[in-house]
């Protein structure tokens, strides 16, 4: 008694008295693997005493096909069947068996790479796991803070040493960074300062007009721009532009071992890479702030002229009356500090990159977010300081 059940092109199954007879046909390649696996899966090997496989009909067999066949043979053997090939088993199957059986030579284990899973303790209770996660996060943040402070300290020391011995500074590199972070940022800084000041003037004009206090629009715009908005806007834009570019540039240099190459030649990467960026930005950011202030006041003037019909002369006079001697300087003094923070965040995160491109992307993001955060935090501290100083 025998019945032929063709399942797919790949396998023909005959059930005989002694068990299964498999006739393998067609292309057994990685391309057909989905269908082959499905066909093999459908073959029921439970309580089959013998499986005989004829592989001569296969027109093309690659390693993946052989791997699927091996999986089936193992399954049949586990189910208690005796598996035999009619003729010699295919070479590829032998190769797969051999590859997966013999333990691979440990000759090329990477040095100094301990198994990271080895030291980890076993799974804990869900409540404990949350605690463990929080604990890990706190410890990691603590380390990160200490490392950041150390980097900040090193940068400051190198910077101070270089300022004392100015012939060690790299003027060409600094000028390049002034150009990259300052000159090329001028259009976008000017545009955003203009738009924001127009919005500010417009909003305040709407509110103050009801009180008949139109003239105070000028005070609001002038003091707002000179003390806070000019420098803050500029810093946020520069943090996005240059903080990310510092982090990406240094990060890819790290990945490319360029930083190691510098260190190996005895050069100090902080002195060569970080200090020019810090100084370049410290020069560029105050200049950008002046431009933002100027354009912001111009925007206010335009709005007052066309919305409030205020003559330009009156606007200029009012600007002069509203500011004190310190107003401009209170704003501009913050710029170098913000520049230092932005350059520091970008360079520090860039220098932290090791290993992979994904880490580079992550750290560039962190650099920008932290640069903006640090700028706003510093601005708040400045506000408190100036209030105490009654300026």
């Amino acid at each position: 008694m025998s019945a032929t059940l063709p399942i797919t092109e790949a396998v023909e199954v005959r059930r005989t008295a002694e068990g299964l007879e498999l006739e393998l046909t067609g292309v057994w390649s990685v391309r057909e693997l989905g269908a082959i696996e499905a066909a093999l899966e459908r073959i029921d090997v439970a309580s089959v005493p013998r499986v005989r496989i004829a592989a001569a009909g296969i027109s093309e067999l690659d390693l993946s096909g052989a791997w699927a066949l091996r999986g089936f043979v193992r399954r049949a053997r586990r189910a208690g069947a005796e598996v035999a090939f009619r003729g010699a088993p295919p070479d590829q199957l032998r190769l797969v068996e051999q590859t997966l059986a013999e333990p691979a030579a440990p000759e090329e284990a990477a040095p100094g790479e301990a198994d990271p899973t080895a030291a980890r303790p076993g799974p804990a209770e869900p409540g404990d796991r949350a605690l463990v996660a929080i604990g890990r996060y706190v410890v990691r943040s603590g380390h990160d803070l200490v490392a950041g402070l150390a980097f900040f300290g090193r940068t400051c020391v190198t910077l101070a040493a270089n300022l004392v011995r100015p012939w060690r500074l790299r003027p060409i590199s600094i000028v390049r960074h002034v150009y990259d972070t300052g000159i090329t940022a001028m259009p976008i800084v000017a545009l955003i300062a203009f738009l924001i000041c127009v919005i500010l003037a417009y909003l305040s004009a709407q509110q103050l007009r009801g009180l008949g206090a139109d003239i105070y629009v000028v005070d609001l715009v002038t003091i707002g721009v000179l003390r806070e908005l000019g420098v803050l806007l500029t810093s946020v834009i520069v943090a996005g532009r240059s903080g990310s570019s510092f982090a990406a540039e240094l990060g890819s240099m790290k990945l490319n071992e360029e930083v190691d190459a510098l260190t190996a030649t005895g050069a100090d990467p902080i002195e060569l890479l970080v200090v020019p960026r810090v100084l370049g930005l410290a020069i560029a950011l105050p200049l950008l702030t002046v431009i933002a202030d100027l354009i912001g006041l111009t925007g206010g003037a335009l709005l007052c002229r066309f919305l409030l019909d205020m003559p330009l002369e009156q606007y200029v006079n009012r600007v002069n009356e509203s500011i004190s001697a310190t107003t401009f300087w209170v704003g501009i003094i913050k710029a170098p500090v913000f520049a230092l923070l932005i350059a520091f965040a970008g360079c520090y995160r860039g220098m932290q990159v090791r290993g992979s491109a994904r880490e580079l992307g992550h750290l560039v993001t962190v650099a920008v977010v932290q640069a903006i955060f640090l700028v706003i935090l510093a601005d708040a501290l400045f506000a408190v300081l100036f209030m105490r100083m009654k300026i």
């Binding site: 693997l33 390693l63 333990p103 090329e108 290993g355």
Partner: protein, 255 residues
């Protein structure tokens, strides 16, 4: 029998700089073909052209009969599934583990269940002689030799009959390089692969290659290994009969 890779009249030019000018190359099935040339002779440009990463100014590149210089990206896809490439520095995706690296071509080209993906990837990883625990590691955690092997495992992901290796033994110590040559021979014999290999390594050439193509004067001189060493071109003479080569050649001929 038709050549597996056939390059005819290839011209590559960058501005005024002519890299290839009427270069011909032919690789037959089941052979290990070595591409040799001085630095800047255009070995990498040739490989990039064959892989379709760069269009030549003139000439044809046929891979198993298909002229790839005039195919669109979509038409190239099945042809690209028919060969594997191991780049010089490995070019492993640094954000993925070795296992995921090997799985990526399969995910791109095939629809397979996750168990099959994992089983096949592990098979390829073991096949190139990596220990099974290397599968979970990231490329940054591997040694140079392991990266090269992992790159070969990824190149073999789709069981291609054709394999390109770009300077596979560069940067390896002689012992690892010899072990890699053994791997190339092992794979060639057991998988019936056709292998095209760019290399500088004389030991590698003498050990693995059946035929060698030397890029000189913007063209290629190719011949069997035994005959190419007697080619009268001065660069080829200098290459195969230089101080470093003489010893090797003597040993080879004496044997």
């Amino acid at each position: 029998m038709a050549a597996v890779v056939e390059v005819r009249g290839l011209v590559n030019r960058f501005g005024a700089q002519v890299v290839h000018d009427g270069l011909d190359m032919e690789v037959d099935a089941d052979e290990v073909f070595g591409i040799v040339g001085g630095s800047g002779a255009g070995k990498s440009v040739l490989l990039r052209t064959i892989l379709g990463l760069q269009r030549p100014q003139a000439g044809t590149v046929r891979i198993r009969g298909n002229d790839i210089t005039h195919l669109s990206e979509a038409q190239l896809r099945p042809i690209k599934a028919g060969y594997g490439v191991a780049f010089q520095s490995g070019a492993l995706y640094s954000g993925l583990t070795v296992l995921e690296n090997v799985q990526l071509p399969m995910i791109e080209h095939l629809k397979l269940p996750p168990t099959a993906l994992e089983g096949l990837a592990l098979l390829k990883i073991r096949l190139v002689g990596l220990p099974a625990d290397a599968a979970a590691k990231y490329p940054a955690q591997l040694s140079g030799g392991m990266v090269k092997r992992a790159a070969v495992a990824r190149a073999l992901a789709l069981d291609p009959p054709l394999l390109f290796l770009d300077e596979p033994t560069s940067g390896l110590d002689p012992v690892s390089a010899a072990a890699f040559d053994d791997l190339v021979l092992y794979l060639q014999q057991h998988l019936k692969l056709t292998i095209v290999m760019i290399t500088h390594d004389l030991d590698s050439i003498f050990r693995t290659c059946n035929r060698v193509g030397v890029i000189v004067d913007r063209r290629m001189e190719s011949d069997t290994l035994e005959r190419i060493v007697d080619n009268p071109h001065p660069w080829i003479q200098a290459y195969f009969h230089g101080e470093r080569a003489r010893e090797r050649l003597g040993a080879e001929r004496g044997a």
